[in-house]
Amino acid sequence: MKKILVTEDSAAMRGLIVSTLEAMGNCEVVEACNGFEALRMLPREKVDLIITDINMPDINGLELVNFCRSHTLYEQTPVIIISTEGSERDREKGLALGADAYLIKPFRPEELQQLVIKLLH
């Protein structure tokens, strides 16, 4: 059973991602509604994959990626960043910081599911 952390400040979007993941079965999803919560959960939950939005107040998704990559405990944890059409620069920065994959909103549920399967195996 793999554990996935979803960090997204929009509740609706988060709900959608979580239900998409849960539909896959065989994984447990934990949710954080901002960067603070994600930081607080990381040491508590042994997370196998992180999915994070980029645009969030205070601690943004890029900073979360950077934090994970420079921390021995999470440097190997795969990260998927979610961005929007038009924010190519943020996306490139995320990949340069060490994010493993990205999704562009709106995406189809299968796209997310395929990425998750790819990164968890």
């Binding site: 929009s10 509740a11 607080r40 980029i54 943004n60 890029l62 934090f67 929007t84 910081l97 909103k105």
Partner: protein
Amino acid sequence: MGPQQAVDEFLAEAEELLEKLSQDLAELGEGIENGDVNPDLLNGIFRDAHSMKGLSGMFGFNDIAELAHHLETLLDKLRLGKVSLSGILLDLLFETIEGVGLMVRGKAGDPDYTIDITPYVQRIENLLAGPDDSAMVSLETLNLDPSLLNVLTEYEEHRLQENLSQGRLLLLASIAFPLDSFDTDLSDVISDLKQVGEVVSTLPGAANDDPTRLAFRILFSSNLPLEKLSGRPNLSDCCFDIISESKAVTRAPEVLVPEKSAGRMPPPQPASEDTSLRSVSHSVRVDVGKLDILMNIVGELGLVKGSIAQVATDLSDAGLSQSRDLAKAVHSLERRLSELQKAVMDVRMVPVRQLFDKMGRIVRRMAQELGKKVELKTFGSETEFDKLIAEELADPLMHIIRNALDHGIEFPSERLTTEKPEIGSIELRATQRGNHVVLEISDDGKGIDSEVLRRKGIEKGLIAPEAQLSRQDLFGLLFQPGFSTRDEVSEFSGRGVGMDVVKNNISALSGIIDIDSTFGQGTKISLTLPITLAIIKALVVQIQGRDYAIPLTSVLETLMLEPGMIQTIEGQEVIELRRQTLPLLRLNRLFCLDEKTTSLGEFVVVAGFAGRRIGIVVEELRGQQDVVIKSLGRALSFVKGIAGAADLGNQKTVLVLDVSSLITDSLRGDVSPHV
């Protein structure tokens, strides 16, 4: 999730987003009038438009997604400073949101409903075709670690630019917090920084020397000079690096507006005779009792809503097709209700200034009578809380201040011999921390000798001679009834007079009182109080088959109790939670309920108040609910640990636990073994 249900969920969320968008836009509009645009507000609007786009795209409503996309583009340009905010632009934003709303509501009846979005798109494109307003400052030339620039989003880079071009002081604050409390600690620092400037971004650091702490760097622009910042109590542990000094910026001279109304055309008003009679005053004075009645009605309405929601669920379970409409109606009723509740609460809020002013008069009068020189300084007087709390607080606060003046502050002659300034100082400081207000009353008087307290405590038989007590425990003795009388007090400049009464007053408000003192240097008393008492969110739990409500504001987390977790230290059950010992409290013992054996499937509700924590053992977590706390009445006021009773709506009444008194009583430990 069935397709229809998914659409319903989409509609509910979309309507909520739209509503928030129009509210925030209206607020943004007010900002234009006053000539200041709040970047956080604008960014929030952008993110909501963005969510709208993502959401409708995910649900396959491409027409909504496309219009939302154009809306988002426009807002993106706006927040990145590529276009400037004007009345025309604001109108365009409102119109576009209306267009989105038209489609959303249309889809509610017919998923294929659509409108021609070309006119909207055309107008946005026309506006964006204008010249680009932004002027760039090179970020690479800054005294800034390039790796830091790599984690800023485009928007954050823009805010950085914007602050630079305005010549504001840019700082990088570094600070580390303990792992178990970093989020609240960090929020405190960030909200403090937001009061004196703009927080551009917060960067969690990774490796540092101390594995028990998490380091952060906060990039922000400050309106205050650096030396003023380090003086703020929340920021005293921060280490600041200057990224860019503040400089005067030559700007096009602004049109000076002498006073609010004079320089600007008054809004067009219908010419009628009563114009001069209107707007005599924009406020009304209302009896608090009337507000209480309103609040109660709102609370009862909430309960009625709960019952209707239950009926809707029952009908839906029975397979009735109309149940969906009912559920929808309940949903919108719920939203309106929470708006109403918030509005009524807002009306009840008063700034703490009123209270502070009252104290100022008392200090002046008393100082004169006693022949002492004192200056009263107040901070955070704009902090607001419930009128009822403000009123109930007047007496205890007066007691504390009197004590400080009478027993704390020395006579001028005495102060001069101890190298203190001739004029004593009493500080009143109010700060909001989440749902609580912390009031600190500090003086620079004689302070209290904790060793004298220990001697007194032993003499009075309150503590055992060999007891190992912390400073906090010793100061806690002051709150014991009859601990000190006037004569005894004077010899150690104590403040025992009436402190037990003060404590009871504060507890009655679900507050906590703390005292700390350095002998010879002064005393600080902190009061932690809830902002409002009327309606609270509560966690309903089951203990020995009975339901209880715990105010959610004091619940930190809940966890499952697994066998072997509980240890016993000196007769006290504890568990280890993230390397800290958490004392457990079993209410069935405290309340002397019959004990049934329930060894498995128990939960611990970790409750915290004013920095202290306790684990309440419960059998079941039943969910969250808004409750109106009603007092148990005078006859039962002696019952400890119960804040009142609340109605759960299903004709069930539960007791609401008073977390603050449970914590103080159970953590007092051996000072008072029999609660």
